[in-house]
Symmetry: C2
Subunit: 229 residues, 2 copies
Amino acid sequence: MARKSAAPQRRTDQLSRDTIVAAAIDLLDASGEDGLTFRALSERLSTGAGAIYWHIANKNELLTAACDALIARTLTMSATAATPEDTIRALALNLFDAIDAHPWVGSALARALGQMPMVRILESLGRPIRDLGVPARDQWTTVGALLNYILGVGGRNAANGQLARTQGLDRSDFLETVSAAWSGLDPVAFPFARGLAAQVRTHDDREDFLAGIDLILRGIAAPRPRRRG
Amino acid sequence: MARKSAAPQRRTDQLSRDTIVAAAIDLLDASGEDGLTFRALSERLSTGAGAIYWHIANKNELLTAACDALIARTLTMSATAATPEDTIRALALNLFDAIDAHPWVGSALARALGQMPMVRILESLGRPIRDLGVPARDQWTTVGALLNYILGVGGRNAANGQLARTQGLDRSDFLETVSAAWSGLDPVAFPFARGLAAQVRTHDDREDFLAGIDLILRGIAAPRPRRRG
DNA sequence: AATAGTATGGAACGACGTTCCATTAGGAGC
DNA sequence: GCTCCTAATGGAACGTCGTTCCATACTATT
């Protein structure tokens, strides 16, 4: 007896949130931010968009979940080091490497404001910050400063990855272009940027990131000026 | 004599890049990042998408141009203050206020890597950093740290604005939700975040931002440890 | 066997960025 | 004056996206 349409073949294994998140991470790693679409996801999981939406509210939630899975994996690697400073340094470097390897994490983090992935990072930074002797009333701003710095670097890294993918030029080509552009800036209006053009070509992102962390750590250690009132 | 189709009525005034950028800024301010579409832009300028594309390469370039116009306007307001520290503080606060008033600038900045708006900020930070006595070899990382911190805050602000617009809840509602969520976290796994839940509700973004700038300034002023090698 | 709730796969909708194209105004050369 | 050429315009059309909808099929529970 003929049905109205051919019956769609059903899967035997159940689809699950974790399966979907794992597939999303694969897609993001393979094709960048733009690679995560419900069509590509459907094909990869041999299903339809509707089935995915049964487990996931929307794309943003999926992106945050993928980001959280990766951040959680990254943070569990970070053990405590000899000093609180070294713990923070190691933690920050682990995050940098993770974001560098998966640039989409940078932009996903920025959109996951008070949610799990950020909370995890906050928590991991919290203990060493307390161990540094930062008084309770300063802990909020201190961890915030570190977090914002890391987010800033992460966001830049995400933009870098996105640019490289869409423009099709690799990192050194891009840096060469920027360096040349800065060299050609008006020397009266932009003397400082002109002077930095050479470093655009030769700098090392990872070293610079760590130098920034060290700078902030020095700021944390420095005595605070007396408050007003 | 009848033509194939009604002749489209032509404008007498010329469309220009500046006109388009100005209209884009209006749309972004009025309706957020998602408010800038070529359809809305076409309607506002009483033209078609094709005419806009004659002056602008693509949406990303338009967004960067809008961002640059606003950043340029913001930075020209910033005069030099009594001390280099105060100059940096004033500059950073001007940027914060601009991003706070126009949240889309935060995410536009992140995507405009080596381009004009970033160069402008870099340049404005460069002079006071030199005046602080930062040696030439450290200026790159120093200005980078400040820039990344500002970008991080900007990105968070952008996400905030986007969230508020799409979810339809205002800032205090959102903070209340986050604070409640953090209070409900597992006290064993997340003691630090739990302890910060109250501050989520009561903190002041602008003050915290300035506290972060001060922290970094203290780090800049602190003596650097001797290098290896 | 009947039913209710859970889960699936794919079609359809509306909106977006971008491309294409027919058309027009304005000036240069004659 | 007229013709050409180019800069510019306005809107239709294309392909893709996130999301919604719905007919269908499994799986317990009665």
